[in-house]
Structure formats: C-alpha cells, structure tokens
C-alpha cells in the first residue's frame, strides 16, 4: 500500500509524483494533471482561489488513495493537491498511479480524480472581469 498524499500551497511537482509511483515491478504509470482553464462556459476566468478544510481534506485524500489501492490491481498512488491562489495554466491537482496492469492504472486514476472531486473538502472560486463565483455552489 504505497501512497503519497500532499496538500500544499506550493507548486506541485509532476516528476516527483511519477517517480513516487515508479517501480521496476510496475511497467505502467498513468497520470492525471489538472490545470487552471482560462474559461468556464462563456466566461473568461482570470484566476482561481482554492480554499480547503485542510485536516479533513488530507483524511479524505487518504481515503480516496486507500479505496483505489483496494479496488484496483495497482501498486502505488500519489494524490497531490494545491490550494491558495492559482493563475491560468497552473496545476491544482496531480494524480499518479503505478501498476503492472495498464487498464487497472487507467481505471484507478480516473476513479481517484472523480472521487476527489465529490468528496474532498476543497472549494474553488473563479474570478472573472467584474465578478467571482464559488463553483458548483448553486443549482
């Protein structure tokens, strides 16, 4: 059960995530990298603020990692998330999975990002020209 959980204000290091899950027994690594988009629907996004309930978020990230390790034939997983203010193109999230089965690696990585987006207490506020909105707050 090899996992790396990291919730930080500093820039994420994709290479570090990949190297964490890499192992001579594996053979397959799948990575998901989220980046800040310059638009949502028709609005131009200028920057994002990520807020978090840090101790709980870390626990929930641990749960996502453990569930992925139990549910799929994978050897290792890294889930790193950033918070604070991020500009366009910056990286809020990196998930890396190591496995000897590439299908399991894809499935586990997709499961991890999907689950993170529904369970981990992190909130995103988008800033537009002349406006701001908490994403997904309202119907």
């Amino acid at each position: 059960m090899i996992k790396s959980i990291h919730l930080t204000e500093k820039p994420l290091d994709i290479t570090r995530c990949r190297e964490f899950v890499s192992h001579p027994k594996n053979g397959a690594e799948v990575l998901f990298v989220g980046t800040v988009r310059n638009h949502t629907d028709s609005k131009n996004v200028e920057k994002l603020l990520f807020e978090t309930y840090k101790p709980m978020a870390v626990k929930e990230m641990e749960k996502v990692a453990l569930t992925a390790l139990n549910k799929f034939e994978i050897a290792s997983i890294a889930i790193h998330h950033r918070y604070g203010e991020l500009n366009i193109g910056e990286i809020p999230v990196v998930i890396a999975v190591g496995s000897s089965h590439r299908k399991a690696a894809f499935d586990a990585c997709e499961f991890a990002i999907d689950t993170l987006k529904t369970t981990v207490p992190i909130w995103k506020k988008e800033f537009f020209t002349g406006g701001e909105v908490w994403v997904s707050a309202h119907p």
């Binding site: 978090t52 309930y53 709980m56 207490p121 909130w123 995103k124 707050a137």
Partner: protein
Amino acid sequence: MKILAFGITKEYIGQSEIELNDDSLSTVAHLKNRLIELYPNLKSLNSLAIAVNEVYAAEEDKIEQNDVVALIPPVSGG
C-alpha cells in the same frame, strides 16, 4: 460548540468560525435546521454536508457540545 464555515458558507455567515451553545441540538439534522434558520442563504445551496470532527456525518448522527462541526458546501477541488 465550535462551527467552522468554508467556501460560500463563510460568506453567508460572515466569518469562518462561530460558537453555538444549545444543548437541545442533539443531532446533525437539528443543528442543520437551526443554522438554516439563522442563515437562510444556506438553503440556496446545491447541497450542504456536515462534518463532525473532520468526518462526514449523517443527518441522524448525534453531536456533543465539544465536537468540532464544519459546514461543507458543494466541493469543487481538482
């Protein structure tokens, strides 16, 4: 008890932390109803989850005065 507010709930409540001392609030559902009475904007949210001591709680879960409660509006990480 101590109640932490995050994301949009922090804006609705006007601060990131409030104290609410009321022995009659024995379950998560009671507390949630009371908070919606106090801050009606909370009703406008897509969802409002409650965490007790850093773990998601169910509506029927009991709460104690020394628990740390957190308001969890719809999350949007990733």
